[in-house]
Amino acid sequence: MTSQAYSNLILELKNLKKYFPIEKGFFRRAEGQVRAVDDVSLFIKEGETLGLVGESGSGKTTLGRCILRVIEPTEGEIYFRYNDKPVNLLDLDSREMHMARRHLQMIFQDPYSSLDPRMIISDIIAEPLYANKVLKGKKLRERVRELVELVGLEKTQMRRYPHAFSGGQRQRIGIARALATQPKLIIADEPVSALDVSIQAQILNLMQDLQKRFNLTYLFIAHDLSVVEHISDRVAVMYVGKIIELAETEELYIRPKHPYTEALLSAVPQLDPETKMKRIILPGEVANPADPPSGCYFHPRCNYAKEICKTDAPKWEEVAPEHFVVCHFAKELTLKGVD
């Protein structure tokens, strides 16, 4: 991928890999590897939202955590631009990484388990500021109050514990905590999938407002394709540890180039009972990343698979401007997207 063409990159991943060893027996012999993230390269522009979709087990969450080095990647480079120069996060020692994390924050999926039940809300939100030694004393308290109001909670609720809040309110607390250190990039790992539909809209709106206001960049990880379409500027589709398609949202949804993307889009239940889309039923389940199929990982489930797909792994190519696909027949197939 030629990334030099874009000047305003905030994050760039180059050949990022995370292999988990499968250990067996008393001596913990490595019996094999789970290729959770397998040679992923992508970039995120400043101020945009990159949606990352895929089924469970496709490595979305591992990828998100590798960027923060919560999970240490096996190989690759992560260039993150802060203080106006790109830095490879994997070259940093733990103290420097600590400093860099101030600019990189995360919002978690489950608002019930991601907040410490023994801390009051104001302490939860203050912790990143305190831990990073950004603020203390009166200024810290003022900033926390500001954050609480920013995400739409009441000042009077600051001294309560997480159990006193509903799912949507907890997710607001999680967002306030992520925003505390004024980060540039926020990795949102399924931030709305645990919420009810009416609350989901509130949180999505809040995230969009905050993005506009603070020029935030989001890596938005989700499995719900309609939510991803709604919030993302560009979308990457992941399958068994690899990014198989990446394009601008509209381009990807209207003109998908990978058979997997086509099937995913057709599987989303449509709201309008009259426009029943022809569901493409994929046979079988997501491949096992510990023992992936030969050639193209998707070939056992693919309706268009030919001989070459079983033997040769397809290459990452740009089929249209900024539309990248990994498929042997990306240029030949005419696939159906969303009308």
Binding site: S198, N205, H223, A263, V268, L271, E285
Partner: protein
Amino acid sequence: MKDYIIEVQNLKTYFYLDEGIVKAVDGLSLDIKEKKTLGLMGESGCGKSVTALSILRILPKPGKIVSGKILLHDSQNGSTRDLAAMKPDSPEIRSVRGNEISMIFQEPMTSFSPVHTIGNQILESIYYHDTQDKKLAMEKALDMLHKVGISNPEQRMNEYPHQLSGGLRQRAMIAMALVCRPKLLIADEPTTALDVTIQAQILELMQGLQEELGMAVMFITHALGVISSISEKVAVMYLGRVVEFADTKIIFKNPQHPYTICLLKSIPHMGRKAKTRLEAIKGNVPIPLDPLPQCGFYARCPSAMDGTCDTAVPGLIEIEQGHFVRCFLYSSEKEAS
């Protein structure tokens, strides 16, 4: 009322807690015709699952059916039984459970027994309801597993739930529910825990089996897209009551209750221009702990009328043929308490 399989009339299920009474289901009425699918839609906490558990009489403790009727019709001999009047541990209700009405749960991992094989769990209900003949029971179980698309059923019979993947487990769950050929299947969020491609497989499977076995389905979910693709009629629930009830097409094309309208506006539609703003509903779903005698949606409703909506519960009114709405915007009729 000939071709109805089940009619629920003014069902009230309350949970008696120290803090007060949680009115989980508060005057719910609905009916399902034979071989049809009813979608029961609502957010968490609106009483969808409690309705299902009430019908099968498997409510967890402090929960109690306070009043109402659950009429199960038998078209073959024309008899009608009231499930709400049966004792929860009586032989009569036991002969209904898993036989005439069965249920699929959301999380197949927690609803299977982890210490029994899939085969034993399926055979159990055959032995109880159908036949004691081991060979015949085995044949029936294998046949069902085959029908739900499990390859190599002989081997799967001897496996434990943890050995199956999510999609396979849900298929095994469906096999277990359908093995006695129920007339009504209650599916409580059967695809919520699954990925979209697996969800598509399961929905396709359920529709095929419904046609083949000729059963009615009550499909409970909060996913509006799933409801629109699978059901003929939709009941929208809010705070223990049905607030709108109509054909699926009407609900999605011409919704009348403010809650349904808001709900449809608040979710992102596929294929719509991205980066628009969603119209969120303010506030949260309240907990029905000692609720006030007012419309449940009053506090969140954009067209709430002070002095009207906060003084009484509106009645469920038929505003056009087969389209019921519970809202004071359309009629001033109040719910009899």
